[in-house]
Protein backbone atom coordinates (compact mmCIF):
# COMPACT_ATOMS: atom_id res chain seq x y z
CA UNK A 1 0.00 0.00 0.00
CA UNK A 2 2.74 2.43 1.01
CA UNK A 3 4.67 1.99 -2.24
CA UNK A 4 1.52 2.30 -4.32
CA UNK A 5 0.61 5.57 -2.62
CA UNK A 6 4.12 6.91 -3.06
CA UNK A 7 4.15 5.88 -6.72
CA UNK A 8 0.93 7.77 -7.35
CA UNK A 9 2.03 10.89 -5.50
CA UNK A 10 5.43 10.89 -7.12
CA UNK A 11 3.66 11.16 -10.43
CA UNK A 12 0.99 13.60 -9.39
CA UNK A 13 1.07 15.18 -5.97
CA UNK A 14 -2.21 16.96 -6.68
CA UNK A 15 -4.21 13.73 -6.35
CA UNK A 16 -6.69 14.02 -3.51
CA UNK A 17 -6.95 11.42 -0.78
CA UNK A 18 -10.31 10.38 -2.21
CA UNK A 19 -8.83 9.86 -5.64
CA UNK A 20 -5.96 7.81 -4.27
CA UNK A 21 -8.36 5.74 -2.18
CA UNK A 22 -10.48 4.94 -5.23
CA UNK A 23 -7.53 4.13 -7.43
CA UNK A 24 -6.05 1.73 -4.91
CA UNK A 25 -9.30 0.33 -3.56
CA UNK A 26 -8.58 1.63 -0.04
CA UNK A 27 -10.67 3.64 2.38
CA UNK A 28 -10.06 7.38 2.60
CA UNK A 29 -8.99 6.98 6.25
CA UNK A 30 -6.42 4.39 5.36
CA UNK A 31 -4.91 6.70 2.79
CA UNK A 32 -5.01 9.70 5.12
CA UNK A 33 -3.38 7.83 7.97
CA UNK A 34 -0.68 6.47 5.75
CA UNK A 35 0.10 9.87 4.25
CA UNK A 36 0.26 11.47 7.69
CA UNK A 37 2.76 8.78 8.70
CA UNK A 38 4.78 9.30 5.54
CA UNK A 39 4.92 13.02 6.16
CA UNK A 40 5.78 12.64 9.83
CA UNK A 41 8.63 10.28 9.09
CA UNK A 42 9.87 12.65 6.41
CA UNK A 43 9.51 9.95 3.78
CA UNK A 44 7.38 12.41 1.91
CA UNK A 45 9.73 15.36 2.19
CA UNK A 46 7.88 17.94 0.15
CA UNK A 47 5.25 18.32 -2.58
CA UNK A 48 6.79 20.09 -5.53
CA UNK A 49 6.21 20.83 -9.18
CA UNK A 50 8.30 19.77 -12.13
CA UNK A 51 8.84 22.78 -14.36
CA UNK A 52 10.37 23.02 -17.82
CA UNK A 53 12.17 26.32 -17.25
CA UNK A 54 13.49 26.34 -20.81
CA UNK A 55 9.98 27.25 -21.93
CA UNK A 56 9.85 30.29 -19.63
CA UNK A 57 11.65 33.64 -19.78
CA UNK A 58 13.31 33.08 -16.49
CA UNK A 59 17.08 33.33 -16.57
CA UNK A 60 18.26 30.14 -15.01
CA UNK A 61 21.60 28.42 -15.32
CA UNK A 62 22.40 25.07 -13.76
CA UNK A 63 25.71 23.36 -13.41
CA UNK A 64 26.83 20.01 -12.10
CA UNK A 65 30.06 20.23 -10.17
CA UNK A 66 32.21 17.20 -9.49
CA UNK A 67 33.86 17.77 -6.17
CA UNK A 68 36.83 15.80 -4.89
CA UNK A 69 37.25 15.77 -1.14
CA UNK A 70 40.07 14.75 1.17
CA UNK A 71 38.21 13.36 4.13
CA UNK A 72 39.94 13.28 7.47
CA UNK A 73 39.27 11.52 10.70
CA UNK A 74 36.33 13.17 12.44
CA UNK A 75 35.68 15.28 9.39
CA UNK A 76 34.14 12.95 6.79
CA UNK A 77 32.09 13.41 3.65
CA UNK A 78 28.98 14.25 5.61
CA UNK A 79 30.60 17.25 7.19
CA UNK A 80 31.91 18.56 3.87
CA UNK A 81 28.54 17.92 2.26
CA UNK A 82 26.88 19.94 4.98
CA UNK A 83 29.19 22.86 4.38
CA UNK A 84 28.12 22.71 0.77
CA UNK A 85 24.41 22.05 0.94
CA UNK A 86 23.77 24.88 3.36
CA UNK A 87 24.26 27.36 0.53
CA UNK A 88 20.91 28.29 -1.05
CA UNK A 89 22.60 28.35 -4.46
CA UNK A 90 23.10 24.60 -4.17
CA UNK A 91 20.06 22.65 -5.28
CA UNK A 92 21.28 19.09 -4.76
CA UNK A 93 24.22 17.21 -3.33
CA UNK A 94 24.96 13.50 -3.72
CA UNK A 95 27.80 11.34 -2.46
CA UNK A 96 29.13 9.40 -5.43
CA UNK A 97 31.17 6.32 -6.14
CA UNK A 98 33.91 6.55 -8.76
CA UNK A 99 36.21 9.31 -9.90
CA UNK A 100 35.02 12.03 -7.57
CA UNK A 101 33.14 12.24 -4.31
CA UNK A 102 30.36 14.78 -4.28
CA UNK A 103 28.09 15.73 -7.14
CA UNK A 104 26.76 19.22 -6.52
CA UNK A 105 24.13 21.01 -8.54
CA UNK A 106 24.30 24.77 -8.43
CA UNK A 107 21.77 27.21 -9.85
CA UNK A 108 22.18 30.85 -10.70
CA UNK A 109 21.01 33.53 -13.08
CA UNK A 110 24.13 33.59 -15.26
CA UNK A 111 27.09 31.37 -16.00
CA UNK A 112 29.33 33.95 -14.44
CA UNK A 113 27.35 33.93 -11.23
CA UNK A 114 27.56 30.14 -10.99
CA UNK A 115 31.24 30.06 -11.89
CA UNK A 116 32.05 32.72 -9.31
CA UNK A 117 30.11 30.83 -6.68
CA UNK A 118 32.18 27.74 -7.39
CA UNK A 119 35.45 29.65 -7.38
CA UNK A 120 34.77 31.74 -4.32
CA UNK A 121 32.59 29.57 -2.11
CA UNK A 122 32.86 25.92 -3.12
CA UNK A 123 36.51 25.41 -3.94
CA UNK A 124 37.62 27.34 -0.89
CA UNK A 125 35.90 25.04 1.55
CA UNK A 126 38.38 23.19 3.70
CA UNK A 127 38.96 19.57 2.52
CA UNK A 128 37.69 20.34 -0.96
CA UNK A 129 40.53 19.15 -3.11
CA UNK A 130 39.28 20.03 -6.58
CA UNK A 131 36.17 20.93 -8.59
CA UNK A 132 35.09 20.45 -12.21
CA UNK A 133 32.14 22.47 -13.41
CA UNK A 134 29.76 21.25 -16.17
CA UNK A 135 27.01 23.60 -17.28
CA UNK A 136 23.72 22.04 -18.29
CA UNK A 137 22.62 23.22 -21.70
CA UNK A 138 19.30 21.50 -22.21
CA UNK A 139 16.99 19.21 -20.26
CA UNK A 140 15.59 16.27 -22.17
CA UNK A 141 14.24 14.27 -19.29
CA UNK A 142 13.97 14.84 -15.59
CA UNK A 143 12.58 12.72 -12.77
CA UNK A 144 11.33 10.15 -15.25
CA UNK A 145 9.51 12.68 -17.39
CA UNK A 146 10.47 13.49 -20.95
CA UNK A 147 10.32 17.22 -21.69
CA UNK A 148 8.44 17.20 -24.93
CA UNK A 149 9.90 18.74 -28.03
CA UNK A 150 8.17 19.51 -31.29
CA UNK A 151 7.44 16.04 -32.62
CA UNK A 152 4.34 14.23 -31.53
CA UNK A 153 3.36 10.64 -32.21
CA UNK A 154 0.30 9.94 -34.34
CA UNK A 155 -2.97 10.42 -32.47
CA UNK A 156 -5.28 7.50 -31.83
CA UNK A 157 -8.52 7.41 -33.76
CA UNK A 158 -11.29 8.96 -31.67
CA UNK A 159 -13.40 5.87 -32.12
CA UNK A 160 -12.27 2.30 -32.72
CA UNK A 161 -13.86 -1.10 -32.24
Amino acid sequence: MRDDILDLLKNNSKLSHEQIATMLDLSVEEVENEIVQLEKKNIIVKYSTLIDWDKTNKELVSALIDVKVTPERDFGFDAVAKRIYKFPEVSSVHLMSGGYDLSVQVEGRTMKEVALFVAEKLSTIEHVQSTATHFMLKTYKKDGVIFKGETKPAERLVVSP
Partner: protein, 387 residues
Protein backbone atom coordinates in the same frame (compact mmCIF):
# COMPACT_ATOMS: atom_id res chain seq x y z
CA UNK B 1 -22.66 1.11 -63.91
CA UNK B 2 -25.02 -0.49 -61.51
CA UNK B 3 -22.59 -1.53 -58.85
CA UNK B 4 -25.26 -3.03 -56.67
CA UNK B 5 -25.64 -5.69 -59.35
CA UNK B 6 -21.89 -6.14 -59.56
CA UNK B 7 -20.73 -6.16 -55.97
CA UNK B 8 -21.10 -9.48 -54.21
CA UNK B 9 -24.46 -9.78 -52.44
CA UNK B 10 -22.62 -11.34 -49.55
CA UNK B 11 -20.71 -8.10 -49.01
CA UNK B 12 -23.75 -5.95 -49.65
CA UNK B 13 -25.64 -7.85 -46.98
CA UNK B 14 -23.20 -6.65 -44.33
CA UNK B 15 -24.67 -3.58 -42.65
CA UNK B 16 -22.51 -0.45 -42.28
CA UNK B 17 -20.54 -0.23 -39.05
CA UNK B 18 -22.39 1.38 -36.15
CA UNK B 19 -19.08 2.56 -34.77
CA UNK B 20 -18.11 4.33 -37.97
CA UNK B 21 -21.08 6.64 -37.59
CA UNK B 22 -19.74 7.95 -34.29
CA UNK B 23 -16.38 8.47 -35.82
CA UNK B 24 -17.95 10.82 -38.37
CA UNK B 25 -20.07 12.57 -35.75
CA UNK B 26 -17.10 13.11 -33.48
CA UNK B 27 -15.18 14.87 -36.23
CA UNK B 28 -17.80 17.62 -36.21
CA UNK B 29 -17.50 18.41 -32.51
CA UNK B 30 -14.71 20.46 -30.90
CA UNK B 31 -12.86 19.68 -27.71
CA UNK B 32 -13.90 16.04 -27.75
CA UNK B 33 -12.97 13.64 -25.00
CA UNK B 34 -13.14 10.09 -26.19
CA UNK B 35 -14.02 7.04 -24.17
CA UNK B 36 -14.71 5.36 -27.48
CA UNK B 37 -11.26 4.07 -28.23
CA UNK B 38 -10.69 0.33 -28.32
CA UNK B 39 -6.93 0.43 -28.04
CA UNK B 40 -4.36 1.17 -25.33
CA UNK B 41 -3.45 4.81 -24.69
CA UNK B 42 0.15 3.75 -24.18
CA UNK B 43 2.69 3.88 -26.94
CA UNK B 44 4.45 0.53 -27.47
CA UNK B 45 7.16 0.15 -24.78
CA UNK B 46 10.48 1.57 -25.89
CA UNK B 47 12.48 -1.65 -25.69
CA UNK B 48 10.09 -3.21 -28.21
CA UNK B 49 10.31 -0.25 -30.57
CA UNK B 50 14.07 -0.30 -30.21
CA UNK B 51 14.19 -3.98 -31.14
CA UNK B 52 12.34 -3.04 -34.32
CA UNK B 53 14.91 -0.33 -35.17
CA UNK B 54 17.74 -2.83 -34.82
CA UNK B 55 15.87 -5.33 -36.88
CA UNK B 56 15.44 -2.85 -39.73
CA UNK B 57 19.01 -1.68 -39.44
CA UNK B 58 20.14 -5.27 -39.76
CA UNK B 59 18.15 -5.57 -42.95
CA UNK B 60 15.25 -7.74 -41.82
CA UNK B 61 13.07 -6.87 -44.77
CA UNK B 62 12.15 -10.27 -46.19
CA UNK B 63 9.20 -12.61 -46.05
CA UNK B 64 9.36 -15.04 -43.19
CA UNK B 65 8.13 -18.62 -43.06
CA UNK B 66 4.38 -18.67 -43.70
CA UNK B 67 3.95 -19.80 -40.12
CA UNK B 68 5.96 -16.85 -38.84
CA UNK B 69 9.50 -16.78 -37.45
CA UNK B 70 10.25 -20.06 -35.73
CA UNK B 71 11.90 -18.20 -32.85
CA UNK B 72 8.72 -16.26 -32.26
CA UNK B 73 6.55 -19.39 -32.40
CA UNK B 74 8.88 -21.02 -29.90
CA UNK B 75 8.56 -18.07 -27.54
CA UNK B 76 4.78 -18.10 -27.94
CA UNK B 77 4.78 -21.81 -27.10
CA UNK B 78 6.86 -21.05 -23.99
CA UNK B 79 4.49 -18.29 -22.98
CA UNK B 80 1.43 -20.53 -23.31
CA UNK B 81 3.20 -23.17 -21.26
CA UNK B 82 4.31 -20.70 -18.62
CA UNK B 83 0.98 -18.93 -18.22
CA UNK B 84 -1.53 -21.73 -18.76
CA UNK B 85 0.48 -24.97 -18.83
CA UNK B 86 -0.73 -25.45 -22.39
CA UNK B 87 1.49 -27.44 -24.72
CA UNK B 88 1.48 -26.44 -28.38
CA UNK B 89 4.11 -27.44 -30.88
CA UNK B 90 5.79 -24.39 -32.42
CA UNK B 91 6.28 -26.44 -35.59
CA UNK B 92 2.69 -27.08 -36.61
CA UNK B 93 0.25 -25.85 -33.97
CA UNK B 94 1.06 -22.15 -33.81
CA UNK B 95 0.57 -19.65 -36.61
CA UNK B 96 1.63 -16.01 -36.47
CA UNK B 97 -1.00 -13.81 -38.12
CA UNK B 98 -1.70 -10.22 -39.03
CA UNK B 99 -3.47 -9.61 -35.76
CA UNK B 100 -6.17 -11.68 -34.16
CA UNK B 101 -8.42 -10.14 -36.80
CA UNK B 102 -6.83 -12.17 -39.58
CA UNK B 103 -6.70 -15.30 -37.45
CA UNK B 104 -10.44 -15.14 -36.73
CA UNK B 105 -11.20 -14.79 -40.41
CA UNK B 106 -8.95 -17.74 -41.25
CA UNK B 107 -10.60 -19.94 -38.67
CA UNK B 108 -14.12 -19.15 -39.78
CA UNK B 109 -13.27 -19.65 -43.44
CA UNK B 110 -11.45 -22.88 -42.70
CA UNK B 111 -14.36 -24.27 -40.69
CA UNK B 112 -17.68 -23.13 -42.10
CA UNK B 113 -19.77 -24.78 -44.73
CA UNK B 114 -22.53 -22.69 -46.27
CA UNK B 115 -25.29 -22.13 -43.72
CA UNK B 116 -23.56 -23.67 -40.72
CA UNK B 117 -24.21 -21.79 -37.54
CA UNK B 118 -21.87 -19.70 -35.46
CA UNK B 119 -23.01 -19.11 -31.90
CA UNK B 120 -22.21 -15.60 -30.73
CA UNK B 121 -22.80 -14.66 -27.12
CA UNK B 122 -23.56 -10.95 -27.25
CA UNK B 123 -22.93 -8.07 -26.69
CA UNK B 124 -19.74 -8.95 -28.51
CA UNK B 125 -16.88 -7.56 -30.55
CA UNK B 126 -18.20 -6.14 -33.82
CA UNK B 127 -16.05 -8.18 -36.22
CA UNK B 128 -17.33 -11.64 -35.38
CA UNK B 129 -20.63 -11.44 -37.22
CA UNK B 130 -19.35 -9.95 -40.50
CA UNK B 131 -16.43 -12.40 -40.53
CA UNK B 132 -18.79 -15.32 -40.02
CA UNK B 133 -21.16 -14.07 -42.72
CA UNK B 134 -18.35 -13.49 -45.19
CA UNK B 135 -17.23 -17.06 -44.56
CA UNK B 136 -20.70 -18.27 -45.53
CA UNK B 137 -21.89 -19.03 -42.03
CA UNK B 138 -25.09 -18.11 -40.30
CA UNK B 139 -25.00 -16.23 -37.03
CA UNK B 140 -27.05 -17.20 -34.00
CA UNK B 141 -26.79 -14.65 -31.25
CA UNK B 142 -27.12 -15.57 -27.59
CA UNK B 143 -28.15 -12.85 -25.18
CA UNK B 144 -26.28 -12.28 -21.96
CA UNK B 145 -27.52 -10.09 -19.14
CA UNK B 146 -26.34 -7.34 -16.87
CA UNK B 147 -27.63 -9.24 -13.84
CA UNK B 148 -25.18 -12.05 -14.68
CA UNK B 149 -22.39 -9.51 -15.23
CA UNK B 150 -22.70 -10.50 -18.90
CA UNK B 151 -21.42 -14.01 -18.38
CA UNK B 152 -22.67 -16.67 -20.76
CA UNK B 153 -25.11 -19.07 -19.13
CA UNK B 154 -24.87 -22.71 -20.13
CA UNK B 155 -28.66 -22.86 -20.25
CA UNK B 156 -28.88 -20.05 -22.79
CA UNK B 157 -26.19 -21.68 -24.89
CA UNK B 158 -28.02 -24.98 -24.84
CA UNK B 159 -31.25 -23.36 -25.98
CA UNK B 160 -29.56 -21.68 -28.95
CA UNK B 161 -28.13 -24.91 -30.31
CA UNK B 162 -29.60 -26.45 -33.48
CA UNK B 163 -28.39 -29.36 -35.62
CA UNK B 164 -26.51 -26.77 -37.69
CA UNK B 165 -24.54 -25.33 -34.79
CA UNK B 166 -20.85 -25.73 -35.35
CA UNK B 167 -18.81 -22.95 -33.84
CA UNK B 168 -19.01 -21.09 -30.54
CA UNK B 169 -17.09 -17.83 -30.22
CA UNK B 170 -15.97 -16.88 -26.72
CA UNK B 171 -14.25 -13.64 -25.79
CA UNK B 172 -13.28 -13.27 -22.15
CA UNK B 173 -12.26 -10.82 -20.84
CA UNK B 174 -14.88 -9.26 -23.05
CA UNK B 175 -14.96 -6.39 -25.44
CA UNK B 176 -17.37 -4.54 -24.87
CA UNK B 177 -18.57 -5.55 -21.38
CA UNK B 178 -15.37 -6.32 -19.48
CA UNK B 179 -16.99 -9.57 -18.39
CA UNK B 180 -14.79 -12.49 -17.40
CA UNK B 181 -15.61 -16.15 -16.91
CA UNK B 182 -13.79 -18.08 -14.22
CA UNK B 183 -12.95 -21.75 -14.40
CA UNK B 184 -16.23 -22.95 -12.90
CA UNK B 185 -18.26 -20.76 -15.28
CA UNK B 186 -16.36 -22.08 -18.27
CA UNK B 187 -16.66 -25.70 -17.17
CA UNK B 188 -20.42 -25.48 -17.52
CA UNK B 189 -19.97 -24.17 -21.04
CA UNK B 190 -17.44 -26.91 -21.82
CA UNK B 191 -20.05 -29.47 -20.84
CA UNK B 192 -22.43 -28.19 -23.52
CA UNK B 193 -19.62 -27.87 -26.06
CA UNK B 194 -18.77 -31.53 -25.59
CA UNK B 195 -22.40 -32.66 -25.72
CA UNK B 196 -22.98 -30.90 -29.03
CA UNK B 197 -19.60 -31.43 -30.55
CA UNK B 198 -18.89 -27.70 -31.05
CA UNK B 199 -15.65 -26.06 -32.04
CA UNK B 200 -14.72 -23.13 -29.81
CA UNK B 201 -13.00 -20.01 -31.08
CA UNK B 202 -11.58 -18.52 -27.91
CA UNK B 203 -10.51 -14.91 -28.45
CA UNK B 204 -8.33 -14.24 -25.42
CA UNK B 205 -6.74 -11.04 -26.64
CA UNK B 206 -7.48 -9.30 -23.32
CA UNK B 207 -6.19 -12.17 -21.17
CA UNK B 208 -3.28 -10.22 -19.71
CA UNK B 209 -5.62 -7.40 -18.75
CA UNK B 210 -7.24 -9.35 -15.93
CA UNK B 211 -7.43 -7.42 -12.66
CA UNK B 212 -9.09 -9.83 -10.26
CA UNK B 213 -8.64 -13.58 -10.16
CA UNK B 214 -6.77 -15.47 -12.84
CA UNK B 215 -7.54 -15.76 -16.49
CA UNK B 216 -8.62 -19.27 -17.46
CA UNK B 217 -7.69 -20.24 -20.98
CA UNK B 218 -10.51 -22.28 -22.48
CA UNK B 219 -8.20 -24.95 -23.88
CA UNK B 220 -7.06 -25.85 -20.36
CA UNK B 221 -10.47 -27.30 -19.51
CA UNK B 222 -10.73 -31.04 -19.65
CA UNK B 223 -11.28 -32.34 -23.14
CA UNK B 224 -11.37 -28.86 -24.68
CA UNK B 225 -7.91 -28.45 -26.17
CA UNK B 226 -8.71 -30.70 -29.11
CA UNK B 227 -11.77 -28.60 -30.02
CA UNK B 228 -10.46 -25.14 -29.21
CA UNK B 229 -8.81 -22.59 -31.43
CA UNK B 230 -6.98 -20.18 -29.17
CA UNK B 231 -6.45 -16.59 -30.34
CA UNK B 232 -4.19 -14.10 -28.70
CA UNK B 233 -1.90 -11.33 -29.75
CA UNK B 234 0.16 -8.33 -28.95
CA UNK B 235 -2.24 -5.47 -29.66
CA UNK B 236 -3.73 -5.00 -26.22
CA UNK B 237 -1.30 -6.45 -23.67
CA UNK B 238 1.81 -4.84 -25.17
CA UNK B 239 0.12 -1.77 -26.66
CA UNK B 240 1.00 -2.88 -30.18
CA UNK B 241 -2.23 -2.36 -32.15
CA UNK B 242 -0.56 -0.71 -35.14
CA UNK B 243 2.02 -3.45 -35.64
CA UNK B 244 -0.64 -5.88 -36.80
CA UNK B 245 0.63 -9.07 -35.28
CA UNK B 246 -1.13 -11.81 -33.38
CA UNK B 247 -1.21 -15.57 -33.24
CA UNK B 248 -3.39 -18.61 -33.10
CA UNK B 249 -2.75 -21.97 -31.46
CA UNK B 250 -4.82 -24.97 -32.41
CA UNK B 251 -4.81 -28.69 -33.17
CA UNK B 252 -2.61 -29.46 -36.15
CA UNK B 253 -5.37 -30.37 -38.63
CA UNK B 254 -7.31 -27.12 -38.28
CA UNK B 255 -4.14 -25.08 -38.08
CA UNK B 256 -3.00 -26.57 -41.38
CA UNK B 257 -6.31 -25.65 -42.97
CA UNK B 258 -5.99 -22.07 -41.71
CA UNK B 259 -2.40 -21.98 -42.83
CA UNK B 260 -3.50 -22.91 -46.34
CA UNK B 261 -5.58 -19.75 -46.58
CA UNK B 262 -2.98 -17.62 -44.82
CA UNK B 263 -0.15 -18.64 -47.15
CA UNK B 264 -2.07 -17.55 -50.23
CA UNK B 265 -3.81 -14.47 -48.90
CA UNK B 266 -1.25 -13.02 -46.49
CA UNK B 267 1.99 -14.94 -47.00
CA UNK B 268 3.21 -13.91 -43.58
CA UNK B 269 2.94 -11.23 -40.92
CA UNK B 270 5.35 -8.30 -41.42
CA UNK B 271 8.84 -9.30 -40.34
CA UNK B 272 9.57 -6.12 -38.37
CA UNK B 273 6.39 -6.63 -36.39
CA UNK B 274 7.36 -10.21 -35.73
CA UNK B 275 10.78 -9.12 -34.49
CA UNK B 276 9.13 -6.56 -32.23
CA UNK B 277 6.72 -9.22 -30.99
CA UNK B 278 9.69 -11.47 -30.22
CA UNK B 279 11.15 -8.77 -27.97
CA UNK B 280 7.73 -8.29 -26.40
CA UNK B 281 7.28 -11.94 -25.40
CA UNK B 282 10.86 -12.26 -24.25
CA UNK B 283 11.20 -9.13 -22.18
CA UNK B 284 7.84 -7.42 -22.02
CA UNK B 285 6.49 -8.56 -18.66
CA UNK B 286 7.67 -5.60 -16.61
CA UNK B 287 6.05 -3.06 -18.92
CA UNK B 288 2.86 -5.11 -19.18
CA UNK B 289 2.60 -5.17 -15.40
CA UNK B 290 3.00 -1.40 -15.23
CA UNK B 291 0.26 -0.87 -17.78
CA UNK B 292 -2.05 -3.35 -16.09
CA UNK B 293 -1.56 -1.56 -12.78
CA UNK B 294 -2.44 1.73 -14.38
CA UNK B 295 -5.56 0.38 -16.13
CA UNK B 296 -6.65 -1.17 -12.86
CA UNK B 297 -6.48 2.21 -11.07
CA UNK B 298 -8.50 3.86 -13.80
CA UNK B 299 -10.99 1.00 -13.78
CA UNK B 300 -11.79 1.71 -10.14
CA UNK B 301 -12.14 5.43 -10.79
CA UNK B 302 -14.50 5.07 -13.73
CA UNK B 303 -16.70 2.39 -12.16
CA UNK B 304 -17.14 4.46 -9.02
CA UNK B 305 -17.72 7.64 -11.00
CA UNK B 306 -20.35 6.14 -13.29
CA UNK B 307 -22.23 4.54 -10.41
CA UNK B 308 -22.22 7.84 -8.54
CA UNK B 309 -23.72 9.54 -11.57
CA UNK B 310 -26.47 6.92 -11.49
CA UNK B 311 -25.31 4.94 -14.51
CA UNK B 312 -25.20 1.59 -12.89
CA UNK B 313 -22.39 -0.77 -13.76
CA UNK B 314 -20.75 -3.80 -12.26
CA UNK B 315 -17.02 -3.75 -11.70
CA UNK B 316 -15.62 -5.61 -14.70
CA UNK B 317 -12.62 -7.80 -13.97
CA UNK B 318 -10.92 -7.58 -17.32
CA UNK B 319 -10.18 -5.73 -20.60
CA UNK B 320 -10.38 -1.92 -20.49
CA UNK B 321 -14.09 -1.36 -20.92
CA UNK B 322 -17.00 -0.70 -18.63
CA UNK B 323 -20.54 -1.18 -19.78
CA UNK B 324 -22.88 0.96 -17.68
CA UNK B 325 -26.64 0.89 -18.00
CA UNK B 326 -28.26 4.10 -19.19
CA UNK B 327 -31.79 2.78 -18.77
CA UNK B 328 -32.47 5.17 -15.90
CA UNK B 329 -32.23 8.08 -18.34
CA UNK B 330 -35.06 6.82 -20.52
CA UNK B 331 -32.94 7.32 -23.63
CA UNK B 332 -31.94 4.66 -26.11
CA UNK B 333 -28.25 3.86 -26.35
CA UNK B 334 -27.93 5.70 -29.66
CA UNK B 335 -29.80 8.76 -28.40
CA UNK B 336 -27.70 8.86 -25.27
CA UNK B 337 -24.42 8.55 -27.14
CA UNK B 338 -25.38 11.05 -29.83
CA UNK B 339 -26.66 13.67 -27.42
CA UNK B 340 -23.75 13.21 -25.05
CA UNK B 341 -21.40 13.81 -27.94
CA UNK B 342 -23.24 16.85 -29.27
CA UNK B 343 -24.01 18.46 -25.91
CA UNK B 344 -20.91 17.63 -23.89
CA UNK B 345 -18.34 16.44 -26.41
CA UNK B 346 -17.83 13.02 -24.87
CA UNK B 347 -17.59 10.00 -27.15
CA UNK B 348 -18.93 6.68 -25.90
CA UNK B 349 -20.13 3.76 -27.99
CA UNK B 350 -23.82 2.87 -27.85
CA UNK B 351 -24.21 -0.69 -26.56
CA UNK B 352 -26.57 -1.79 -29.30
CA UNK B 353 -23.78 -1.82 -31.90
CA UNK B 354 -22.46 -4.90 -30.07
CA UNK B 355 -25.80 -6.68 -30.30
CA UNK B 356 -29.41 -6.23 -29.29
CA UNK B 357 -28.75 -7.14 -25.68
CA UNK B 358 -26.40 -4.17 -25.50
CA UNK B 359 -29.38 -1.84 -25.90
CA UNK B 360 -29.73 0.29 -22.79
CA UNK B 361 -25.98 0.30 -22.22
CA UNK B 362 -22.95 2.21 -23.44
CA UNK B 363 -19.35 1.12 -23.76
CA UNK B 364 -16.79 3.37 -22.09
CA UNK B 365 -13.12 2.64 -22.55
CA UNK B 366 -10.84 3.58 -19.70
CA UNK B 367 -7.75 3.29 -21.88
CA UNK B 368 -7.59 7.05 -21.57
CA UNK B 369 -5.64 9.31 -19.23
CA UNK B 370 -6.88 9.79 -15.69
CA UNK B 371 -7.43 13.48 -16.40
CA UNK B 372 -9.58 12.58 -19.40
CA UNK B 373 -11.57 10.12 -17.35
CA UNK B 374 -12.25 12.70 -14.63
CA UNK B 375 -13.22 15.31 -17.18
CA UNK B 376 -15.45 12.83 -19.04
CA UNK B 377 -17.14 11.82 -15.79
CA UNK B 378 -17.77 15.47 -14.97
CA UNK B 379 -19.37 16.06 -18.35
CA UNK B 380 -21.41 12.85 -18.29
CA UNK B 381 -22.65 13.78 -14.82
CA UNK B 382 -23.69 17.23 -16.03
CA UNK B 383 -25.40 15.69 -19.05
CA UNK B 384 -27.37 13.17 -16.99
CA UNK B 385 -28.36 15.83 -14.44
CA UNK B 386 -29.97 18.08 -16.99
CA UNK B 387 -31.95 15.31 -18.70
Amino acid sequence: MNWSKIISPRVQAIPPSGIRKFFDLASEVDNVISLGVGEPDFVTPWHIREAAFYSLEQGDTMYTSNYGLLELREEIANLLKRDYKLEYSPKNQILVTVGVSEALDLALRALLKEGEEVLLPEPCYVSYEPSALLAGGKVVRIKTRAEDNFKLRAKDLREAITPKSKVLVLCYPSNPTGATMDKADLEEIAEVVKEHNLIVLSDEIYSRLTYEGEHTSFATLEGMKKRTILFNGFSKAYAMTGWRVGYVAAPEEILQAMMKIHQYTMLCAPIVSQKAALEAVRNGDKEVEKMVKSYNQRRRVIVKGLNEIGLECFKPKGSFYVFPSIKSTGLSSEEFAERLLKEEGVVVIPGNVFGESGEGFIRCSYASSLDNIYEALKRIGRFVDKL
